[in-house]
Symmetry: C2
Subunit: 423 residues, 2 copies
């Protein structure tokens, strides 16, 4: 696999990995993906790999639906229904009530719609509460909405989740949090935070970018008000796949969002001169969806209809623990410190280590050996754990590779410090 795989002294780990892989109820799903040779892919939390059925589906969309049926495919191939159809599949995966999720636009754009609509449901309240270390674009979008509204709303950022209960108050309009933190993998108790928010009369907006397909989510059970999320990470919908959004049924009638485009109109083909929102979550649609990308996400979601999320969660928890343990053993004394919670119920499906120095170069060196994780500023080595296609043996090989790189000092080469862009 990698040239580090020859390292010795880890026979116990080898035996353990082999036993775990042999007893893995999800092992067969690896064959649903077309994984490149010579790569251990621990970045499925940033871009999921290609499902094997994808080229066939897209070939049909391109050569039959687009080429042959042309404009008729809006009806005959159901293009017009894709946002609701894909949304329904995602909704099922995240515990949403039927008809409360649609696929559309980007995560950022969907957050704009949701925040705009949610703020209008909380008149007189001024605070939007989030975390300082939330995914930056979520904070940028909140700044954008607040600036556009010009009604004196304020983005209040807590430095730690512990500060949330003392910060949520009667002035709080919205608690906007990413369920699983993109840096550390720490996971909020969605039901408990939602309860705290509701107790103060506030609404919740959950970013599920690192949750959908990663951990069981129960939006209805948690009484969440709104959510958004991403199609190209754990869901494997392809680069820049459409995102999704959730509006709880109880809010759908009162929910109004300003990106009031024709796809969200009650009668999109009547060409009326005034906007009249569609019933239900469809009013959160705006413009024409990118059909190629939407069809790809639809195809990727067929895998999720076959999977038990409980099985995924059990393997994810075990794999995260396995990976943490083997890295801490093999890389001891090399300046790595675990950022991800050790308790599996407090984390999502990734493992992050802070590097005291040179994390960017370490990751570039690791990638050059075919072990693909990613780097997040300022010093984080981030590894996505994706049970559908990752074996314990892969995790062990990745850890060996990292240990070799740190032992040899190979990472500390100017070539690995030089690259400009990481995504």
């Amino acid at each position: 696999m990698t040239d580090a795989a020859t390292q010795t002294g880890l026979e116990d780990w080898d035996r353990r990995a082999a036993a775990l892989d042999a007893n893995d109820p999800l092992a067969g799903f690896r064959d649903w993906f077309d994984l490149p040779e010579g790569v251990i892919y621990l970045d499925g939390n940033s871009l999921g790999p290609l499902p094997k059925s994808m080229p066939g589906r897209l070939n049909h969309v391109i050569n039959h639906e687009w080429r042959t049926d042309l404009i008729r495919s809006w009806n005959t191939a159901g293009w017009i229904d894709l946002p609701a159809k894909v949304g329904a599949k995602i909704g099922e995966l995240i515990g949403a009530e039927p008809g409360s999720v649609i696929a559309a636009d980007s995560t950022s754009t969907n957050l704009f719609k949701i925040l705009s609509g949610a703020l209008s449901l909380a008149p007189g309240r001024t605070k939007v509460i989030s975390e300082r270390l939330n995914f930056p674009t979520d904070l940028y979008m909140a700044e954008g909405v607040i600036g556009q509204l010009g009604q004196g709303h304020e983005l209040v950022l807590v430095d730690s989740p512990d500060e949330l209960p003392g910060t949520i108050d009667q002035d709080t309009a919205i608690v906007m949090l990413t369920h699983v933190n993109y840096r550390t993998g720490a996971m909020f108790d969605m039901a408990e935070v939602t309860r705290q928010a509701h107790e103060a009369g506030a609404l919740t907006v959950w970013d599920l970018a690192h949750s959908a397909g990663a951990v069981p989510v129960d939006l209805a059970g948690a009484k969440a008000d709104f959510a958004i999320g991403c199609g190209y990470k754990f869901l494997n919908g392809g680069p820049g796949a459409p995102a999704f959004l959730y509006v709880a049924p109880k809010h759908q009638e009162a929910f109004h969002q300003p990106l009031s485009g024709w796809m969200g109109h009650a009668a999109p083909f009547a060409f009326e001169s005034h906007y009249r929102p569609a019933d239900g979550v469809s009013r959160a649609l705006c413009g024409t969806p990118p059909v190629l990308a939407m069809a790809a996400l639809d195809e990727a979601m067929t895998i999720w209809t076959q999977v038990s999320m409980a099985d995924v969660r059990a393997k994810s928890a075990e794999q995260c623990t396995f990976f943490i343990d083997v890295i801490e053993e093999t890389c001891a004394g090399r300046g790595l410190s675990l950022l991800t919670p050790r308790e599996s119920d407090q984390r999502g499906s990734q493992v992050s280590f802070a590097a005291t120095d040179g994390g960017f170069a370490m990751m570039q060196c690791l990638i050059s050996h075919g072990v693909i994780g990613d780097f997040r500023a300022p010093d984080i080595l981030r590894f996505g754990i994706t049970p559908l296609y990752t074996r314990y043996a892969d995790l062990l090989d990745a850890a060996r590779c990292l240990a070799n790189i740190l032992d040899s000092g190979e990472w500390d080469d100017p070539a690995f410090h030089r690259r400009a862009k990481v995504t």
Copy 2:
């Protein structure tokens, strides 16, 4: 081609069509497209057909860039640069200054950004002027922006272009018009209307959905302030292809828009905690672009780099006139009346007829014979003229088919009245 092609009595038209096709400098471009058999496609103003190079390009994106290079393709395949790269190609086609166009999101979403940013550049002015018969989603989006701002702006709609000069005044912030009307094909004099707007101190926002790839556009020469447009019509970028937007260089530094996502940040990978807009038009980007759809649009734009827009315009004008003339001769007395201006310099690249009765069913019947145009409420038969792949002989056959349907009354069958959705 169609079963109407056997109709006799049009020998002069046959000879004329043959001569025009034989002398067509653009004839070779038809071979760049993979057109379905048995179809005369006059709806390329709604969804352009498949370029022949498209399956190969998308196969590469799917099976090499996504499958093999995975997350690395953001750098190695230049995914991160696609919005600017595609924007540059579109910009060249519409007379934009270098670095003033990006491809992103949907036309509607881009209009929201542009209107928001433009209104903030016109403080104290309250009117957004448009046409009552503008494309509805443009009006819906203006309603959405105005409603969210809550600053007392007003959408003022003129019933006819003649009313514009008398309506644009010192209170006018923005004149927002679709350059070529989606119903009638009537085209504004962009330079003249922009001059009128500027004289009153107002800004212009041009919707180029039916202009880009249809007629020569000279944004810089017309001194236009802002523009938006669509990738899936005349540009042939695929169903729901990403849209584009233009910000004139003189406005770029002061332009701020509220969809302030990470892609428009000055340092998108620095994960800063506050939004800081990128230089130039890139600040109008928001979320992660749909790469499959964006690559398809990029591929479609390679055709446009080979074409003389003057040649396209000359053939489009000739073909529109030809089609109008032959329909008016063959369908005389059947209740069709021309909506499109007769003077070629006052129209875009489509021909529309109002039907006194049953236009929807007429179009459905026509489509059943393989002649694909579209219907627009309340009574419009709309035909897109797309010189890159449409022959004069096709236009003649389409007119024959329509004449046959009207003569025979075949269109007035319940089956053709029944279908619910048309796009």
